[in-house]
Symmetry: C2
Amino acid sequence: MQLRNARADNEYPGAQYGAVLHCALLGNNQGEIVLPTKSPLAPLATPELPNIAGITLRVANARYRNWDRCDLTYIEFAAGTSAAGVLTQSKCPSNEVEWCREALRGGRARGLVVNAGNSNAFTGARGREAVDLILSLTSDHLHCARDEIFVSSTGVIGVPLPKDKAEAGLKAAFNALPCGWEEVARAIMTTDTFAKLATTTAALDGKTVRLCGFIKGSGMIAPDMATMLGYIFTDAKVDAGLLQVMLTRATQKTFNCITVDSDTSTSDTVLAFATGQSDGRELRTLDDAGADEFQTALNDICQQLAHLVVRDGEGASKFIEVAVTGATTDESAKVIALSIANSPLVKTAIAGEDANWGRVVMAVGKAGEPADRDKLMISFGGITVARDGVVVPDYDETPVAAHLKGSEINIAVNIGLGDGKATVWTCDLTHGYISINADYRS
Amino acid sequence: MQLRNARADNEYPGAQYGAVLHCALLGNNQGEIVLPTKSPLAPLATPELPNIAGITLRVANARYRNWDRCDLTYIEFAAGTSAAGVLTQSKCPSNEVEWCREALRGGRARGLVVNAGNSNAFTGARGREAVDLILSLTSDHLHCARDEIFVSSTGVIGVPLPKDKAEAGLKAAFNALPCGWEEVARAIMTTDTFAKLATTTAALDGKTVRLCGFIKGSGMIAPDMATMLGYIFTDAKVDAGLLQVMLTRATQKTFNCITVDSDTSTSDTVLAFATGQSDGRELRTLDDAGADEFQTALNDICQQLAHLVVRDGEGASKFIEVAVTGATTDESAKVIALSIANSPLVKTAIAGEDANWGRVVMAVGKAGEPADRDKLMISFGGITVARDGVVVPDYDETPVAAHLKGSEINIAVNIGLGDGKATVWTCDLTHGYISINADYRS
């Protein structure tokens, strides 16, 4: 199957952006949808993910866009699978997000359906009918309750998901042969330039449990939500309520600590499913033996997935870590770190390989959190450039400039007031972002 | 005098950005500082401003940068001039901002000094010494108190303002012939591409009073402060306390309602001076006859100046008005309007002449303010594109596309919940912004 690609949640109804955009970038102006260039920050290899007992993966082509690729993902879970999720805090969420919020009350999952190419957001009653149809078809197929089925959609805003395509695609998926993790990771992509997969393990009671996950996201990425669509799977036995607590904790330090463009999507969703097919006792509380190990593994896979989204940020050429210490509280440190990570002037400075610490001072100052100009310390790549409110004596830009020529950038700021700390991740702001979002339209 | 131009508050010490940037844009790669292209949104003509009794304008070249233009502005006020001001809320303000905050307690002005090319921000004790020197020289020259002298600086962050250049420049200004409004408006420019001047009048007690103002600003422009450097002058007799109240009111609806890039400068300052040289009684309270008329005129000149900054936004090709109605409160409407105006995806859509109302929905949703997806109404250029949470029936993009091809764009959103309303102004996000802030460095 040749990978072809379209646009994310933020598109105008009917505009075949993906086509025009990527063709134009590749010099093909015929409107055909072709593969965009892979992000220079993509991992060198796609990781091999193990099977998770109790999970069966399938994909199909529902033709939500005029393309030759799979765009409908259907995943079956064994009976007894726990579910947890974090969803966008947007006040204008998609129908799918509203449904997931309702279904999560039950904490049980038997099926997951993900549509790519159409977000079904801002589509009123007709959009809700499409979700209802998917729930009916899938719960009938699995002989389960409707609230054991989870649905997500990603793509253009404002066009109701076509029911005929959803029905045909879903029935094709029911009958398809099972596939692997990479196929499902590819089937949920929109503007993404590479499939994003992660895996890790945890030892519980001397038994190893596996965690696998995949995610999509490239633009319209900002924190304080569960960014874009991400799915995590484990064979661990975890109570649904505990899984929710652990996922929320992990999200605060991972998905909610990344930003590409400060824009929050209407459809952001992260769901976690635990099939309980591994040996060992069920985790029921944070105090249970193995809970710490599982939380660590969950944090690990969430961070891996979150970083992959930043590495595919629209137009990104640099992966940037912003670490703030010495703030009055951890919350204050996070506000300051995000103020730096979201600043267009800081992000363009990094794109220009410019150790512009004046712009970092500006971003600290505008954050509105406690800060004392004359106590600030700023470093790039571990090299201190400013201390006590002024540039360091005999500042030598050479090693800093060398750091900035790389693709992995570190900005560290010590506020000098307390013990609060936070780390967030972002990418630079380049001509690529403008090209993707402004230059090309049908 | 040939106008030449340099960079704003956000620059790295020593980097001759302006030079490299603008030369590159103009095809001259020799590092010489030359005039950048004028914003396509600049007014066709610079307005003629009348003299204001009690005010004398002078400029000089302090050579804060290696350029052949005036960069030091010195303005004398008649005894009895009232002063008011609004200053950046940055937690890392410049020394000049801290001084103005102190001097405003007295509410009296005899002199104003503005340095362009060096913001003197984040310069510690050495920066404060330069401000002290300017205060001493000017108060000695005018035989007045130090707190009757106001000082601003704009340009690179992190380089102490050189005291020798400030002293020589100031002494040259003391001895220079008086000049006109356009010369002072040009002398405070950094990345600005045109001189920004405005004037209006108000009838108080049957007597006409005049208001004149000038401003600079192009990048690092965001609301909730008094954006960049702006100065307003009137011959009205206005008590300093009342002038402060009126200026703060005007700022909330004008300077604090514009954004270029969501980045708040360390040096933002707007000062207003009333010489009281006109005939008529002094305005002392908001209830005095003529107070409403003066407030209206003050709002008018503040809005003119604020719009001029947006029209010179870095890389701007479209002037965008975002009007939000139907929010639960005016404050809520303003948060939503700014969420739209600061969204990189909305701003790039406008740059691409794309009526992408899905991105407007996204920006409403992420604002965090009360909103109901299914009650939203969105229009571009007065043409409704979405109503009750869905695209309008038989939506015809043709007239909307025609509106978006123009340079004056209107986005209106009715939240459908209450009577709260707010209007803010911004510009689009283009390759020009990236070029100015990332592409070129020495």
